[in-house]
Subunit: 195 residues, 2 copies
DNA sequence: CTCAAGTGAGACACCAGAGTATCATTAGAG
DNA sequence: CTCTAATGATACTCTGGTGTCTCACTTGAG
């Protein structure tokens, strides 16, 4: 139904690269919605022959594996510069949210595919991302941005889910993309009760 | 790893009934963790022959369908008496949460299977549950329990996800089952910032 | 415009899981 | 304890998805 960032399809790349990225992009969205989706479905959505998929990925497993690595790279790339800024916990939180909400698809994908990953290395990527939020939660508590009475695991889990929920709600068209990060932040810190 | 409410297996029922419910219960948990799980896996976990499953459910589709209906019934049964109490929005919220968190598995199951439901009737059950939370959110806003500046869709979505997250976190063993409802309530209303 | 690289369509073998049928074994009601 | 209903094991077919291959068509760089 919705169309995705077709604008980001770089026309200056070679034909091969374009096809490859088209498959990668669309596969991500199809599989995020339905992890059971067949290669035929993916091919159809990507407007590509099923055989073509096999020209770029030797198996379904490898396709999924690449998607996961890609998702991880995107998150890593977005987050690293923030950490290097060495901000206080509160500001780091704000920047994290701002950057992660639009990456909800990647975020979610990494989560929902953790189950199927027979591949051992992929489990590490997932755990690594979780660790990030746990670390941040710890700092938030240490710097008293977050009440220390609340279990750490709960803080991290809620933060993780708020970000994903925001992305999902934006996708449904229920809230504006530009409003999302602020909503996550205020919900996280202050909840919904009137001030 | 974890064992489930085996205590609820009623020994006074007939052998057939016990087998049937054993399959139903375990299938719910297996499929909640991995929607792709094969009937062999379910049979194994339920300590039952694969053929036996087919004696009680004419197809995998029907098994899943029954699980969904069952999940819906559980939620319905839990929620109805609360609504009939005619409490104010705030108290209704509290009771809802108290009752829904332990039903996280059913809650989640209804959610995650909505996608696969070719069956039209099942979609209605899902929409019905979503409606409940939307209704409650509307009342919360009307009675000024929740700030009216926040989009309704966002309130409902967060409430839905907080409940699911709580159940998930309990399952992981990261928070105590008895603490969960209170955590959801305070997180929802006040967020994590220290008072 | 030309033509090679890239692609789509389709036929095929292969496999895993769904669903069926049969029979020997076992649980447990009476 | 007995005997039947219920079960587990096994062997089978069928279906849908995966992965391979070929060939004719299209695209777009030169």
């Amino acid at each position: 139904m919705e169309l995705f960032d077709q604008a980001s399809v770089n026309k200056s790349n070679s034909r091969q690269t374009r096809t490859r990225e088209k498959v990668l992009n669309l596969a991500m969205h199809v599989l995020a919605k339905n992890p059971k989706a067949s290669l035929s479905e993916i091919a159809e959505v990507a407007e590509v022959g099923r055989a073509t998929i096999f020209r770029y990925f030797k198996s379904r497993k490898q396709l999924v594996s690449e998607l996961i690595v890609e998702a991880d790279t995107k998150l890593e790339t977005a987050i690293k510069p923030i950490i290097e800024k060495n901000l206080n916990a509160g500001d780091t939180l704000e920047e994290f949210i701002k950057v992660l909400v639009p990456l909800g698809a990647s975020f979610h994908f990494l989560n929902s595919n953790q189950i199927y990953a027979e591949d051992s290395g992929i489990d590490d990527l997932y755990k690594n991302q979780l660790m990030r939020l746990r670390e941040l939660s710890k700092r938030l508590r240490a710097e008293n941005v977050v009440s220390s009475e609340i279990p750490l695991a709960w803080v991290a889990a809620v933060l993780d889910n708020l970000i994903y929920t925001a992305w999902e709600t934006v996708l449904k068209g229920d809230i504006a993309p530009n409003d999302a990060p602020a909503l996550v932040l205020t919900s996280f810190l202050n909840g919904f009760s009137p001030r």
